[in-house]
Protein backbone atom coordinates (compact mmCIF):
# COMPACT_ATOMS: atom_id res chain seq x y z
CA UNK A 1 0.00 0.00 0.00
CA UNK A 2 2.87 2.30 -0.60
CA UNK A 3 3.46 3.22 -4.22
CA UNK A 4 2.22 6.73 -3.56
CA UNK A 5 4.73 8.71 -5.53
CA UNK A 6 5.35 6.44 -8.46
CA UNK A 7 2.02 5.83 -10.07
CA UNK A 8 0.51 8.02 -12.69
CA UNK A 9 -3.17 8.75 -13.03
CA UNK A 10 -4.78 5.58 -14.36
CA UNK A 11 -7.75 7.02 -16.08
CA UNK A 12 -7.55 10.60 -17.05
CA UNK A 13 -5.21 13.22 -18.32
CA UNK A 14 -5.67 16.88 -18.93
CA UNK A 15 -6.51 17.84 -22.47
CA UNK A 16 -3.30 18.25 -24.41
CA UNK A 17 -4.12 18.08 -28.07
CA UNK A 18 -7.40 17.85 -29.87
CA UNK A 19 -9.38 14.96 -28.53
CA UNK A 20 -12.59 13.61 -29.91
CA UNK A 21 -15.71 14.97 -28.32
CA UNK A 22 -17.64 11.92 -27.28
CA UNK A 23 -21.01 12.17 -25.60
CA UNK A 24 -22.77 9.11 -24.22
CA UNK A 25 -26.48 9.21 -23.54
CA UNK A 26 -27.79 6.86 -20.87
CA UNK A 27 -29.78 6.87 -17.69
CA UNK A 28 -30.73 3.45 -16.48
CA UNK A 29 -34.43 3.12 -17.16
CA UNK A 30 -35.99 2.27 -20.51
CA UNK A 31 -38.48 4.62 -22.14
CA UNK A 32 -37.11 7.87 -20.74
CA UNK A 33 -36.36 9.19 -24.24
CA UNK A 34 -32.63 8.52 -24.56
CA UNK A 35 -32.75 7.60 -28.24
CA UNK A 36 -35.15 10.44 -28.97
CA UNK A 37 -32.80 12.93 -27.29
CA UNK A 38 -29.73 11.40 -28.96
CA UNK A 39 -31.19 11.57 -32.47
CA UNK A 40 -32.44 15.13 -32.05
CA UNK A 41 -29.26 16.45 -30.43
CA UNK A 42 -27.32 14.97 -33.34
CA UNK A 43 -29.60 16.56 -35.92
CA UNK A 44 -29.40 19.85 -34.08
CA UNK A 45 -25.60 19.85 -34.30
CA UNK A 46 -25.49 18.76 -37.93
CA UNK A 47 -27.79 21.68 -38.76
CA UNK A 48 -25.15 23.88 -37.15
CA UNK A 49 -22.69 22.52 -39.70
CA UNK A 50 -20.97 20.07 -37.33
CA UNK A 51 -19.87 16.64 -38.52
CA UNK A 52 -21.68 14.17 -36.30
CA UNK A 53 -21.44 10.41 -35.95
CA UNK A 54 -24.14 8.60 -34.03
CA UNK A 55 -23.41 5.19 -32.58
CA UNK A 56 -26.21 2.97 -31.42
CA UNK A 57 -24.60 0.94 -28.66
CA UNK A 58 -27.92 -0.03 -27.14
CA UNK A 59 -26.96 -3.62 -27.61
CA UNK A 60 -30.10 -5.67 -27.55
CA UNK A 61 -32.59 -2.83 -27.89
CA UNK A 62 -31.36 -0.77 -30.79
CA UNK A 63 -33.73 1.58 -32.59
CA UNK A 64 -31.89 4.84 -33.09
CA UNK A 65 -32.25 4.35 -36.86
CA UNK A 66 -36.03 4.48 -36.51
CA UNK A 67 -35.84 7.91 -34.87
CA UNK A 68 -34.01 9.08 -37.99
CA UNK A 69 -36.54 7.52 -40.35
CA UNK A 70 -34.28 4.66 -41.45
CA UNK A 71 -34.96 0.96 -41.79
CA UNK A 72 -32.79 -1.78 -40.43
CA UNK A 73 -31.43 -2.99 -43.73
CA UNK A 74 -27.80 -1.94 -43.91
CA UNK A 75 -24.78 -3.17 -42.05
CA UNK A 76 -24.78 -2.63 -38.32
CA UNK A 77 -22.42 -2.61 -35.36
CA UNK A 78 -22.80 -6.39 -35.05
CA UNK A 79 -21.14 -6.87 -38.45
CA UNK A 80 -18.11 -5.05 -37.09
CA UNK A 81 -18.08 -6.96 -33.81
CA UNK A 82 -18.29 -10.29 -35.64
CA UNK A 83 -15.52 -9.24 -38.03
CA UNK A 84 -17.65 -9.27 -41.15
CA UNK A 85 -16.13 -5.89 -41.85
CA UNK A 86 -12.71 -4.74 -40.64
CA UNK A 87 -13.50 -1.27 -39.30
CA UNK A 88 -16.35 0.49 -37.54
CA UNK A 89 -16.27 3.12 -40.29
CA UNK A 90 -17.39 0.39 -42.71
CA UNK A 91 -20.73 0.20 -40.93
CA UNK A 92 -21.27 3.96 -40.58
CA UNK A 93 -23.99 4.84 -43.06
CA UNK A 94 -25.04 8.30 -44.23
CA UNK A 95 -28.46 9.51 -43.14
CA UNK A 96 -30.84 11.71 -45.08
CA UNK A 97 -29.36 14.61 -43.11
CA UNK A 98 -26.25 16.42 -44.17
CA UNK A 99 -23.13 15.78 -42.03
CA UNK A 100 -24.88 13.11 -39.96
CA UNK A 101 -23.72 9.49 -40.05
CA UNK A 102 -25.11 6.55 -38.14
CA UNK A 103 -23.69 3.28 -36.92
CA UNK A 104 -26.82 1.22 -36.51
CA UNK A 105 -27.27 -0.95 -33.45
CA UNK A 106 -27.58 -4.68 -33.40
CA UNK A 107 -30.13 -6.85 -31.68
CA UNK A 108 -28.11 -9.97 -32.27
CA UNK A 109 -28.36 -12.21 -29.21
CA UNK A 110 -24.58 -12.30 -28.99
CA UNK A 111 -24.49 -8.71 -27.85
CA UNK A 112 -27.35 -8.55 -25.41
CA UNK A 113 -25.02 -9.58 -22.59
CA UNK A 114 -21.86 -7.74 -21.69
CA UNK A 115 -19.34 -7.41 -24.48
CA UNK A 116 -16.17 -9.21 -23.62
CA UNK A 117 -13.09 -7.21 -22.80
CA UNK A 118 -11.43 -7.47 -26.20
CA UNK A 119 -14.54 -6.55 -28.16
CA UNK A 120 -15.18 -3.53 -25.96
CA UNK A 121 -11.58 -2.41 -26.28
CA UNK A 122 -11.75 -2.77 -30.06
CA UNK A 123 -15.03 -0.90 -30.24
CA UNK A 124 -13.71 2.01 -28.17
CA UNK A 125 -10.56 2.20 -30.27
CA UNK A 126 -12.56 2.34 -33.46
CA UNK A 127 -15.02 4.90 -32.09
CA UNK A 128 -12.08 7.24 -31.60
CA UNK A 129 -11.05 6.92 -35.24
CA UNK A 130 -14.06 8.87 -36.50
CA UNK A 131 -12.98 12.28 -37.62
CA UNK A 132 -16.24 13.92 -36.54
CA UNK A 133 -16.70 17.05 -34.50
CA UNK A 134 -18.96 15.14 -32.15
CA UNK A 135 -19.56 11.43 -31.65
CA UNK A 136 -22.72 10.58 -29.74
CA UNK A 137 -23.19 7.10 -28.31
CA UNK A 138 -26.63 5.86 -27.32
CA UNK A 139 -25.74 3.41 -24.55
CA UNK A 140 -29.26 2.25 -23.93
CA UNK A 141 -30.87 1.01 -20.74
CA UNK A 142 -29.56 -0.72 -17.67
CA UNK A 143 -26.39 -0.52 -15.64
CA UNK A 144 -24.29 -3.14 -17.38
CA UNK A 145 -20.55 -2.76 -17.62
CA UNK A 146 -20.99 -1.86 -21.29
CA UNK A 147 -23.15 1.13 -20.40
CA UNK A 148 -21.02 2.19 -17.45
CA UNK A 149 -17.70 2.07 -19.30
CA UNK A 150 -19.00 4.02 -22.29
CA UNK A 151 -20.52 6.55 -19.91
CA UNK A 152 -17.31 6.97 -17.90
CA UNK A 153 -15.19 7.40 -21.00
CA UNK A 154 -17.34 10.10 -22.54
CA UNK A 155 -17.21 13.81 -21.98
CA UNK A 156 -19.80 14.27 -20.81
CA UNK A 157 -22.03 11.31 -20.11
CA UNK A 158 -25.59 12.55 -20.36
CA UNK A 159 -28.38 11.18 -18.17
CA UNK A 160 -31.89 11.43 -19.57
CA UNK A 161 -34.35 11.23 -16.69
CA UNK A 162 -38.11 11.56 -16.43
CA UNK A 163 -39.62 13.37 -13.44
CA UNK A 164 -40.89 10.10 -11.99
CA UNK A 165 -39.69 8.05 -8.99
CA UNK A 166 -38.91 4.96 -11.09
CA UNK A 167 -36.74 6.88 -13.52
CA UNK A 168 -34.92 8.74 -10.75
CA UNK A 169 -34.34 5.54 -8.78
CA UNK A 170 -32.76 3.88 -11.81
CA UNK A 171 -30.69 6.95 -12.63
CA UNK A 172 -29.26 7.02 -9.10
CA UNK A 173 -28.52 3.31 -9.28
CA UNK A 174 -26.73 3.92 -12.58
CA UNK A 175 -24.71 6.84 -11.14
CA UNK A 176 -23.75 4.82 -8.08
CA UNK A 177 -22.66 1.96 -10.33
CA UNK A 178 -20.46 4.40 -12.27
CA UNK A 179 -18.98 5.72 -9.03
CA UNK A 180 -18.22 2.25 -7.71
CA UNK A 181 -16.63 1.28 -11.03
CA UNK A 182 -14.49 4.42 -10.97
CA UNK A 183 -13.44 4.04 -7.34
CA UNK A 184 -12.58 0.38 -7.85
CA UNK A 185 -10.49 1.27 -10.87
CA UNK A 186 -8.44 3.77 -8.86
CA UNK A 187 -8.24 1.55 -5.81
CA UNK A 188 -6.94 -1.29 -7.95
CA UNK A 189 -4.47 0.89 -9.79
CA UNK A 190 -3.01 2.26 -6.58
CA UNK A 191 -3.04 -1.18 -5.02
CA UNK A 192 -5.17 -0.26 -2.06
CA UNK A 193 -7.08 -3.48 -2.37
CA UNK A 194 -8.28 -3.50 1.21
CA UNK A 195 -10.61 -0.67 0.28
CA UNK A 196 -12.32 -2.58 -2.53
CA UNK A 197 -14.28 -4.76 -0.16
CA UNK A 198 -15.57 -1.71 1.66
CA UNK A 199 -16.56 -0.01 -1.57
CA UNK A 200 -18.45 -3.04 -2.73
CA UNK A 201 -20.12 -3.87 0.53
CA UNK A 202 -20.98 -0.45 1.82
CA UNK A 203 -21.82 1.66 -1.21
CA UNK A 204 -23.19 -1.08 -3.40
CA UNK A 205 -25.66 -2.35 -0.84
CA UNK A 206 -26.71 1.22 -0.05
CA UNK A 207 -25.74 0.94 3.60
CA UNK A 208 -23.74 4.15 3.45
CA UNK A 209 -23.25 7.10 1.19
CA UNK A 210 -20.24 7.84 -0.97
CA UNK A 211 -19.69 10.85 1.28
CA UNK A 212 -19.44 8.85 4.46
CA UNK A 213 -17.28 6.24 2.76
CA UNK A 214 -14.84 8.96 1.75
CA UNK A 215 -14.92 10.45 5.23
CA UNK A 216 -13.66 7.15 6.60
CA UNK A 217 -10.90 7.03 4.01
CA UNK A 218 -9.90 10.58 4.97
CA UNK A 219 -9.55 9.56 8.60
CA UNK A 220 -7.33 6.64 7.59
CA UNK A 221 -5.24 8.05 4.79
CA UNK A 222 -5.60 11.55 3.41
CA UNK A 223 -3.40 10.86 0.42
CA UNK A 224 -5.67 8.14 -0.89
CA UNK A 225 -8.76 10.10 0.07
CA UNK A 226 -7.42 12.93 -2.07
CA UNK A 227 -6.90 10.58 -5.01
CA UNK A 228 -10.41 9.18 -4.80
CA UNK A 229 -11.87 12.62 -4.33
CA UNK A 230 -10.08 13.87 -7.43
CA UNK A 231 -11.33 10.87 -9.39
CA UNK A 232 -14.91 11.63 -8.41
CA UNK A 233 -14.62 15.33 -9.17
CA UNK A 234 -13.32 14.59 -12.64
CA UNK A 235 -16.35 12.44 -13.35
CA UNK A 236 -18.76 15.18 -14.33
CA UNK A 237 -21.90 13.88 -16.01
CA UNK A 238 -24.77 16.01 -17.26
CA UNK A 239 -28.51 15.76 -16.71
CA UNK A 240 -31.54 16.32 -18.94
CA UNK A 241 -35.07 16.10 -17.58
CA UNK A 242 -37.34 14.78 -20.32
CA UNK A 243 -41.16 14.94 -20.41
CA UNK A 244 -41.47 17.82 -17.95
CA UNK A 245 -45.13 18.68 -17.39
CA UNK A 246 -45.28 21.33 -14.69
CA UNK A 247 -43.22 23.94 -12.87
CA UNK A 248 -41.98 21.40 -10.31
CA UNK A 249 -40.65 19.16 -13.07
CA UNK A 250 -38.71 22.03 -14.59
CA UNK A 251 -36.90 22.85 -11.33
CA UNK A 252 -36.37 19.19 -10.39
CA UNK A 253 -33.15 19.02 -12.41
CA UNK A 254 -31.52 21.69 -10.31
CA UNK A 255 -32.58 19.91 -7.12
CA UNK A 256 -31.22 16.58 -8.35
CA UNK A 257 -27.93 18.24 -9.24
CA UNK A 258 -27.82 19.81 -5.76
CA UNK A 259 -28.51 16.56 -3.92
CA UNK A 260 -26.09 14.54 -6.05
CA UNK A 261 -23.30 17.00 -5.39
CA UNK A 262 -23.75 16.58 -1.66
CA UNK A 263 -24.62 12.91 -1.32
CA UNK A 264 -22.73 11.29 -4.20
CA UNK A 265 -19.85 13.81 -4.17
CA UNK A 266 -19.92 14.38 -7.93
CA UNK A 267 -20.88 17.38 -10.02
CA UNK A 268 -23.94 16.69 -12.12
CA UNK A 269 -24.45 19.56 -14.56
CA UNK A 270 -28.09 20.27 -15.24
CA UNK A 271 -28.57 21.04 -18.94
CA UNK A 272 -32.29 21.75 -18.93
CA UNK A 273 -35.74 20.21 -19.27
CA UNK A 274 -37.60 19.10 -22.37
CA UNK A 275 -41.34 19.63 -22.01
CA UNK A 276 -43.89 16.89 -22.56
CA UNK A 277 -45.56 17.56 -25.90
CA UNK A 278 -47.61 15.53 -28.37
CA UNK A 279 -45.30 16.63 -31.20
CA UNK A 280 -42.84 14.02 -29.93
CA UNK A 281 -45.38 11.24 -30.34
CA UNK A 282 -46.31 12.58 -33.78
CA UNK A 283 -42.74 12.81 -34.96
CA UNK A 284 -41.90 9.30 -33.77
CA UNK A 285 -44.97 7.93 -35.55
CA UNK A 286 -43.98 9.75 -38.72
CA UNK A 287 -40.37 8.54 -38.44
CA UNK A 288 -39.19 12.15 -38.54
CA UNK A 289 -37.14 13.82 -35.81
CA UNK A 290 -38.70 16.77 -34.00
CA UNK A 291 -35.72 18.92 -34.98
CA UNK A 292 -36.58 18.28 -38.62
CA UNK A 293 -40.35 18.70 -38.58
CA UNK A 294 -41.06 20.81 -35.50
CA UNK A 295 -37.90 22.79 -34.67
CA UNK A 296 -39.99 25.77 -33.55
CA UNK A 297 -41.98 23.74 -31.00
CA UNK A 298 -41.17 24.12 -27.30
CA UNK A 299 -39.52 20.68 -27.49
CA UNK A 300 -37.36 21.79 -30.44
CA UNK A 301 -36.33 24.98 -28.67
CA UNK A 302 -35.45 23.07 -25.49
CA UNK A 303 -33.26 20.63 -27.44
CA UNK A 304 -31.56 23.51 -29.23
CA UNK A 305 -30.81 25.18 -25.90
CA UNK A 306 -29.41 21.93 -24.46
CA UNK A 307 -27.23 21.38 -27.57
CA UNK A 308 -25.85 24.91 -27.16
CA UNK A 309 -25.01 24.32 -23.51
CA UNK A 310 -23.26 21.07 -24.39
CA UNK A 311 -21.15 22.64 -27.10
CA UNK A 312 -20.31 25.54 -24.77
CA UNK A 313 -19.15 23.03 -22.16
CA UNK A 314 -16.76 21.62 -24.72
CA UNK A 315 -15.06 24.92 -25.45
Amino acid sequence: MNPKQTRSNPVVSERQNRTRTIWAVGGGKGGTGKSFVTANLALCLSKKNKEVTLIDADLGGANLHTFLGMRKSDLDIGDFLTKKVPTLKDVAVPTQYNKLRLVKGSDHLLFTANLNYFKKLKLLRHIKTFDSDVIIIDIGTGSTYNSIDFFLLSNPGILVVNPEPTSIENAYYFLKSCIIRLLKLYIDHYQIQDLIKKVTEQINDNSRSVYSFLSEVISQDKYYADLLFRALKKFRPSLIINKARDEKDFVLGESISNVVQKILVINLDYLGAIPFNEVVHKSVKNLTPVMDKYPESDVGKAILSIASRLTEKKS
Binding site: K120, L153, Y173
Partner: protein, 128 residues
Protein backbone atom coordinates in the same frame (compact mmCIF):
# COMPACT_ATOMS: atom_id res chain seq x y z
CA UNK B 1 -22.64 12.40 6.96
CA UNK B 2 -20.81 15.69 7.07
CA UNK B 3 -17.11 15.56 7.86
CA UNK B 4 -17.30 17.83 10.84
CA UNK B 5 -14.21 19.92 11.30
CA UNK B 6 -13.07 19.15 7.80
CA UNK B 7 -15.78 20.41 5.49
CA UNK B 8 -16.60 24.09 5.70
CA UNK B 9 -20.04 25.67 5.91
CA UNK B 10 -19.54 26.78 2.31
CA UNK B 11 -19.29 23.19 1.24
CA UNK B 12 -22.31 22.27 3.32
CA UNK B 13 -24.26 24.81 1.27
CA UNK B 14 -22.64 23.88 -2.08
CA UNK B 15 -21.29 27.39 -2.65
CA UNK B 16 -17.78 28.73 -3.13
CA UNK B 17 -16.03 30.82 -0.47
CA UNK B 18 -16.38 33.85 -2.69
CA UNK B 19 -20.16 33.39 -2.98
CA UNK B 20 -22.18 36.60 -2.86
CA UNK B 21 -25.14 37.01 -0.50
CA UNK B 22 -27.39 36.41 -3.49
CA UNK B 23 -25.59 33.12 -4.24
CA UNK B 24 -26.09 32.04 -0.63
CA UNK B 25 -29.80 32.95 -0.67
CA UNK B 26 -30.25 31.07 -3.91
CA UNK B 27 -28.35 28.01 -2.67
CA UNK B 28 -30.48 27.97 0.47
CA UNK B 29 -33.74 28.15 -1.48
CA UNK B 30 -32.55 25.36 -3.81
CA UNK B 31 -31.56 23.21 -0.85
CA UNK B 32 -34.90 23.76 0.86
CA UNK B 33 -36.75 22.62 -2.25
CA UNK B 34 -34.35 19.74 -2.87
CA UNK B 35 -34.71 18.29 0.62
CA UNK B 36 -38.46 18.79 1.05
CA UNK B 37 -40.07 15.62 2.32
CA UNK B 38 -41.90 14.88 -0.93
CA UNK B 39 -39.12 16.03 -3.27
CA UNK B 40 -38.18 13.43 -5.88
CA UNK B 41 -34.62 14.75 -5.88
CA UNK B 42 -33.54 12.63 -2.90
CA UNK B 43 -35.73 9.62 -3.72
CA UNK B 44 -33.94 6.39 -2.63
CA UNK B 45 -30.70 8.29 -2.11
CA UNK B 46 -31.10 9.12 1.57
CA UNK B 47 -33.46 8.02 4.32
CA UNK B 48 -35.74 10.28 6.36
CA UNK B 49 -33.24 10.66 9.18
CA UNK B 50 -30.46 11.66 6.77
CA UNK B 51 -32.80 14.07 5.00
CA UNK B 52 -33.66 15.86 8.25
CA UNK B 53 -30.04 15.94 9.33
CA UNK B 54 -28.87 17.34 6.00
CA UNK B 55 -31.54 20.02 6.02
CA UNK B 56 -30.62 20.98 9.57
CA UNK B 57 -26.94 21.28 8.68
CA UNK B 58 -27.79 23.48 5.73
CA UNK B 59 -29.98 25.68 7.94
CA UNK B 60 -27.17 26.06 10.46
CA UNK B 61 -24.71 26.94 7.73
CA UNK B 62 -27.16 29.45 6.28
CA UNK B 63 -27.61 31.17 9.64
CA UNK B 64 -23.91 31.97 9.70
CA UNK B 65 -23.23 32.68 6.04
CA UNK B 66 -26.29 34.85 5.48
CA UNK B 67 -25.21 37.23 8.27
CA UNK B 68 -22.27 39.35 7.01
CA UNK B 69 -20.85 39.87 10.51
CA UNK B 70 -21.10 36.20 11.49
CA UNK B 71 -19.69 35.23 8.12
CA UNK B 72 -16.69 37.51 8.57
CA UNK B 73 -16.00 35.98 11.98
CA UNK B 74 -16.41 32.50 10.58
CA UNK B 75 -14.06 33.23 7.69
CA UNK B 76 -11.41 34.34 10.16
CA UNK B 77 -11.93 31.23 12.26
CA UNK B 78 -11.40 28.73 9.50
CA UNK B 79 -7.90 28.01 8.46
CA UNK B 80 -6.83 28.04 4.86
CA UNK B 81 -7.16 24.69 3.14
CA UNK B 82 -4.59 22.30 4.58
CA UNK B 83 -4.29 20.34 1.41
CA UNK B 84 -5.76 20.29 -2.04
CA UNK B 85 -8.57 18.06 -0.97
CA UNK B 86 -10.23 20.79 1.00
CA UNK B 87 -9.77 23.42 -1.60
CA UNK B 88 -12.87 25.02 -2.99
CA UNK B 89 -11.86 24.16 -6.50
CA UNK B 90 -12.89 20.62 -5.73
CA UNK B 91 -16.42 21.75 -5.24
CA UNK B 92 -18.60 24.04 -7.31
CA UNK B 93 -15.77 25.96 -8.94
CA UNK B 94 -14.03 22.90 -10.25
CA UNK B 95 -13.08 23.38 -13.85
CA UNK B 96 -11.38 20.08 -14.23
CA UNK B 97 -12.86 17.86 -16.86
CA UNK B 98 -12.55 14.22 -17.65
CA UNK B 99 -10.77 13.53 -20.86
CA UNK B 100 -9.99 10.23 -22.35
CA UNK B 101 -6.28 9.71 -22.45
CA UNK B 102 -5.21 10.17 -26.04
CA UNK B 103 -4.26 7.18 -28.10
CA UNK B 104 -4.64 3.45 -27.78
CA UNK B 105 -2.29 3.26 -24.81
CA UNK B 106 -4.71 5.17 -22.66
CA UNK B 107 -7.64 2.90 -23.32
CA UNK B 108 -5.49 -0.21 -23.05
CA UNK B 109 -4.27 0.99 -19.68
CA UNK B 110 -7.77 1.62 -18.41
CA UNK B 111 -9.08 -1.72 -19.46
CA UNK B 112 -6.00 -3.54 -18.29
CA UNK B 113 -6.75 -2.06 -14.90
CA UNK B 114 -10.37 -3.12 -15.12
CA UNK B 115 -9.43 -6.54 -16.35
CA UNK B 116 -6.72 -7.02 -13.77
CA UNK B 117 -9.03 -5.98 -11.02
CA UNK B 118 -11.63 -8.59 -11.67
CA UNK B 119 -9.94 -11.34 -13.59
CA UNK B 120 -8.70 -13.53 -10.75
CA UNK B 121 -10.61 -16.77 -10.82
CA UNK B 122 -12.72 -15.63 -13.71
CA UNK B 123 -12.61 -15.85 -17.44
CA UNK B 124 -10.07 -13.40 -18.74
CA UNK B 125 -12.27 -12.70 -21.71
CA UNK B 126 -15.22 -11.38 -19.86
CA UNK B 127 -16.09 -8.54 -17.57
CA UNK B 128 -16.75 -9.13 -13.91
Amino acid sequence: MILRGEITLYEVMNVSRSASQQDIERAYRTAQISYEKDSLAHYTLINEEQRKKTLLEIKEAYKVLSDPEKRREYDLSISKPKSEIYHNSYFRNSTEKLYIEAGDKGITKIFKSIKGMFSSGRSKKSDP
